[in-house]
Symmetry: C2
Subunit: 320 residues, 2 copies
């Protein structure tokens, strides 16, 4: 039995080994570093070998796995949901922070306090059945188009990162999304779009509340928002995954603690900082990146990924 | 390629299809119900077919998957850790609730308040590196023997439940442990003992705190305990798994909301209530089971598992 299984696996591996697993990555030092790391840690003869069960990879979402400009899709969706609740008379759309969310008035939100604005927005969804929230998110994603590219937000995952996630999954990695965005929004589409089940999405979350209604179990959203950013990312990784990752990708200081946690464990690890330096094909911005940039300079396990230089194509909608 | 894969899978399935997957279960209505459900929901031609990605099974731990008498192993471990901290002068072992934990004085703990006793015990572990806690748990499990059976606690998983977990895993289920016990304790051994990774263990938990020390990421235990029992179980299942389970096993009212949530979803589902009615081979007790018993009577998807009548063998250390 075991011989048959081994034979089958060998045949399948041989058939797929020749193709470039990262066709959207330009040949160069970064691509070499990724492939060298993957080959080393998955080779049981190599001193850097990592057993399958410890192959945990964490990807930030906004700005790391998909486009986060001009606005965060999760916040835009939730603002639209606030608009619906106001239209239905369930909340006062003239009161802050709802008024500013509906008008997409970022200055007013910053003045009111961004943290508080998110907390109060989420509290307004309390009592909503968790599946109704999920279905609203799906409907929004189906309906909305990105203001610059004219495609669905879910079509703006970076090809290079999709290829990397697929490569890691092929090598039996657990691939997790660890995001500061609303968990319920992100997990509404990841299984369809990325093949990542909702249980592998860690985001800012609200513990739902359980009721029994006519013999049926019902879960509705709770009113306490738990923010999953900065130091909370490695903390949530421990709570939810229970293993120190050996790979992390991020794009801002928000991801620096998670990346440091991933690349300072016992195994040979890899960190990737996605640098937004391509105004022509995507966006160029550097605000809030100094700490993750310093980590790349300081730790040889971390690399800068220049969107401009390292990616042949950014999005599927680009001309190849 | 696909044909080759299919051929290999068929050969492997044929070679394993003939053996009884539940040899520790006595032939009868309960075993028939389990096998009929598994066969129906995994048969793509059957109207009750459940796609692989929605095959989520949740098992309570204490009293459902392993023996919980005479005391909860997780609490006994944590009490021993409190004893160590007191011996090191880090906490006052004469103060409540520590004194009662160390003396295993359950009356004193009940008088002080069980919830409060657990919360204050967990707060005493704040600042301990998460891996040090895990290693203490592993050392305790290696060292301790069960007072009645004389074996390690991890040898007291019920054979019938191990076979059932294996059967579900063979059918591409995600198998999760959802327990009121300390998450860090249970996940310290599940990967070795059950093949269940730490990320598939949901228990009472404490969000750790992240620090950076000399360029390294460090996680230590936090001081807020989140209890994972009763209504919190289905809530945590949604937060952590993000899918309504189609299978749940439990043994007490603590598991009733989780089981109701699992068996009142859109798919044909199965709930098992493990009834402790076998004083000779295990323990007989019925306190705190009326609600889960009522659910079994009320909902045809739920079944009683009588340890006495349904299991040929209870533990691996039983004579066959």
């Amino acid at each position: 039995m075991r011989t048959l299984t081994t034979l089958c696996l060998l045949l399948m591996m041989t058939a797929t080994a020749c193709a470039d697993p990262l066709p959207s990555w330009r040949e160069g030092a970064t691509k070499d570093a990724i492939l060298d790391w993957v080959n080393s840690i998955t080779d049981s003869e190599n001193e850097d070998f990592i057993p399958v069960r410890d192959r945990v990879a964490v990807f930030d979402n906004d700005g790391t796995s998909w486009c986060e400009r001009p606005g965060f899709a999760s916040a835009e969706f939730q603002a639209s949901l606030i608009g619906s609740l106001a239209a239905e008379g369930k909340i006062d759309g003239e009161a802050m922070p709802f008024k500013a969310w509906i008008a997409d008035d970022r200055d007013a939100l910053h003045e009111y306090g961004m943290g508080k604005s998110y907390v109060e927005m989420n509290a307004a969804f309390a009592g909503m059945p968790v599946f109704a929230y999920r279905d609203s998110a799906r409907a929004w994603l189906e309906r909305e188009r990105h203001s610059r590219y004219g495609v669905r937000h879910t079509e703006l995952y970076y090809l290079g990162m999709l290829e990397l996630q697929a490569l890691l999954a092929q090598h039996d990695f657990q691939v997790w999304i660890v995001t500061g965005a609303a968990q319920g929004f992100v997990r509404s589409y990841t299984e369809e779009v990325l093949g990542i089940p909702p249980g592998h999405v860690i985001g800012s979350w609200t513990q739902p509340v359980y009721h029994e209604v006519d013999g049926q179990g019902v879960l509705v959203r709770g009113d306490v928002q738990n923010y999953n950013g900065h130091e909370n990312k490695p903390a949530a990784i421990q709570t939810r995954i229970g293993k120190q990752p050996v790979f992390a990708a991020g794009n801002s200081n928000n991801d620096q603690p998670m990346m440091r946690w991933a690349i300072t464990g016992p195994y040979r690890s890899l960190g990737l900082w996605i640098h937004h330096d391509d105004e022509d094909r995507e966006y160029a911005y550097d605000r809030g990146t100094n700490k993750i940039e310093d980590l790349v300079k300081e730790n040889p396990a971390a690399f800068e990924v220049s969107i401009k230089d390292d990616w042949v194509r950014v999005f599927a909608c680009d001309k190849p």
